[in-house]
Structure formats: C-alpha cells, structure tokens
Symmetry: C2
Subunit: 239 residues, 2 copies
Amino acid sequence: MAYATAQLENPASLFDVFLRDIAQGQPSTSCYRALIKIGHAIHLEAGTVATYDHDNDMIAYLVSGATKLIASASGGREHIVAFHFGGDLISIPAGTWHAYDLRALTHTHILLFPANDFVKATADEPSFSGVLLKNTLNALHRSRDRAVGLGRKNAAERLASFLVEMVERQGQAVSPPLQLELPMSRRDIGDNLGLTIETVSRQFGDLKQLDLIETAGRSKVILRDLDGLKKRAGHVGKI
Amino acid sequence: MAYATAQLENPASLFDVFLRDIAQGQPSTSCYRALIKIGHAIHLEAGTVATYDHDNDMIAYLVSGATKLIASASGGREHIVAFHFGGDLISIPAGTWHAYDLRALTHTHILLFPANDFVKATADEPSFSGVLLKNTLNALHRSRDRAVGLGRKNAAERLASFLVEMVERQGQAVSPPLQLELPMSRRDIGDNLGLTIETVSRQFGDLKQLDLIETAGRSKVILRDLDGLKKRAGHVGKI
DNA sequence: CGTGCCGTTGAAGGTTCTCAACCGTGGTGG
DNA sequence: CCACCACGGTTGAGAACCTTCAACGGCACG
C-alpha cells in the first residue's frame, strides 16, 4: 500500500519540527530512529486525501496547513468529525462503524505513523506519551463538547459555537474586532455541524443582520461581538 | 471539597481490582502508594452524582455498576455524553463550555483520581500509561462514531446504532436471540441520542413491529435480528 | 388503594431539509 | 478582452421529520 502521495523534498526537516514541538525533552536517539523508521512524511494538495492503511489506527502530526477528518455513513452521507491546524496531533481511527478519511483543506505537510508502532516507539519516553495522552484527551473533550451541540442545539447555536471554537483555536488576536480566515467551505461547516449548506448560509445571514459578524469574500469572517456569539452559542460554564 | 459521598468499608479491595484489571504488569510499590494516596474510593447509590473538584480533569475507574456522563448546556438542556459499565476507565473533563457530571445508574463503586496527578503517578509505568492511552483513544473513537450519528442520522438509525453499541459493550451472548439489560431510562437514551422520550418510545415501537426486537418490562430488550439492526443503523464499513 | 414516576400514544406545530432557481467569482478559451 | 462555464454561495417555497403539548396506561411503592 502506498503511504505517500508525494514525498517531501526533505522529510527530515519535518521530523525536526515534530520533535521540537512535541517532545520538549529531547528523546533518546533510539526513539528518534524508530520514529523516522515508522513515520512517513506526506505532502498533500488542497482537496486530496491522505492514503494509508485503513485497517489500523493511525496517528498524524500536522506540520503545516489544515485538514478535515471525514466519517462516511451509509447513503453517501459524510460527517466531518474534526478540523485540524498546524501543530495538531491527529488520531485517525481504523474504520469500524464508519469509514474515516483525512483530507487536506490547504497545502499540507503531515507525518503519518501507525498508531500501534507509534505508541510502542514512544512508550519509554514519558514526555512523549504524556503529550500524546494530553492531546488525545483534548480531542476527546472537544469531540464531546461538539456532540452536545449536535444533540441538543439548534442551527443558530451550532454556528455560533463553531465560530467561537475556531477563533479560540486559530484566531489571530490582531485586536478586536477579531478576524478569522476559514479554510473550509460552507459545505464543510455544514458537514461538521450536522446542517445543510443552505441552513449554514441562512445562519451566516442572520449573524450579519444581528451585527455579530461581518464577512469579506468567501473565507474571511470578522467577529464584531465575541461575547454576543458566546451567549448565542448556548454554552454553560466559564464564558 | 468533599470527594466521597460514602466511603467504602474496604477501599483497598477496590484498588486491588483496579490494579489487577488495568495494570497487568505489576506496578512498582512507589506507583501503587502514589495511586492510593491520590485516589478516592466512592460508593454511589443509583441516581446520585459523584462529587469532586470540577475545576480539574478527573479520571475514574468504574469497578462495578453503571454510570452516565452528563453535559449541561444552557436552558437546562442535558446531554449524556457517554455511558459506562464495570471495568471502564472514565475521563471527566473540567467544565469549559459545558458542565459535566457523573451520575450513577445503578449501585456503583468507583475510584476517582485527579487526572494530572494520575498521569504523573503513572508516567513511569509504560504498561499503565499505555492502557490509559488506549482507553482514551477508544473513548475518542466511540465519541466520534456517536457524533456522526447525531449529525447525520435520523431517529430510527440512532436507536438502532445505540442498541448495537450496547450489545457489543455489555451484551451477554447467552445464545441468539441476544438479551440486553438496559440500566438507563428512555429519557437517558433520548438525552444520549439527541431525541425526546416520545421519539425514543415511538422508535422502540417501530422496532417491535418490524420484529427486530422484543421488550420485556422496562429494561429488558431481546434482539431478534442483530444484522437487521445493523443495517438499520446506517453504518459503513465492517458489519 | 392512592400516588408518583415512567412509558406510551395522539394531534398540532416548528425547525430544518429538500428541491429549485439565481447570483457572484474565478478560471479558461476563443 | 470578453464571453463562457464551473463552482460555491445565497435565497425562496414546500415537505418531512421531530418536537411540543396533552392525555392516558401501567407498574412500583407507600
């Protein structure tokens, strides 16, 4: 099975970024070599799918770019389970109930590891497995928070939640008003929130009319009232 | 802050069960002592909530019984993020967007640990942190599979998915037809699937009429046609 | 035997989906 | 340079699904 659609010019540099960002404490050289051996540096064009062994869980480190993790249900329905940005550690489940694919939203550089091998290789590096665990817990908590939205919130609350999450994850605080560059399409947003593109579009319209946001072009969103958005998101707890 | 609503007669025995099931390789005595120091053995009656420090992530080991993890959104809406059964390792997020509570469905014995301390105490025990990571990944994958259901499936598919998951997690294969003892109420099921009790009830009715299941009393369900249920669940992939 | 909770069933209403047409932009080729 | 096309996004009307509101049934418990 072909792992890489296109090998990077200089794969080693990706590993260096990875090790610098993930393993703060320098890993042993044996661990380093093991990771290089099992890892594959991949370069994806926007819109292309990462190819890998779907029968095993995978772990990916997103060096740069943005990706979406897609789950397919029967009837051609797709659900975007998560979006990822540079620096994220991604867990890709082997398909059990649903088939999962990782697709690039922009030019993307990633490192792909079989999860089992990755865990084995890093088991003796507490700093490493700690980061991995922390990251997985984060993903779990985000997934749960989003599940609450899917189960118990209406379209307005879902889009507000989405924008708040996006600004918290990748918003540059240039200074209020906050500016957001969304790398995903309306369809992607809908597939993430369990809504149709039409509903997403109408919700964007409502937010504009309420002066909570402005849009510029297809991907730029300016948040004029973050607190208003958070109220609209229907969260509970620390706002 | 009070951690335990009722201390067990013999807390040490719970720890023994925990160590036997989770840490297959015997942990060092220092690790053992550290865990006993930070852990709290708790006994919960059905319907009561575990009390703990909500400002920190917690990790719980469910020795026996069944619990639900509840997220609260604004407007008094509740969503059940996960159900747990004996032997499960539970991650309870500190409230960020939503407030989380762990509530017992039946007589329940659990061990509660602050997540940070737990990770620290077990960092040097690869077998331990491996189990923890594996468990967290499982929870993540389940959460994602359920998110797909919440986002892209109708009521019929959701209930079928639910029953299939339940039988896979705690169904005794006495012999087909499979028998299932559901410790949760219709409301709990609805709160988990993002449906009202009425819709859940109607879906149960439909399943009975289609001869896919039988019900006996409030909690017993007999699955007459597991493959039929799986088809109805709208999964993709290995069936 | 009454009370209360859980579950079931029915009718009306609302939110979102579906279907369809239209608009704006970016890229291509004549 | 402009016309054309493809694609993503917007807007509108009708239909579907689930929710809401309401009444009722049944089992457990005092």
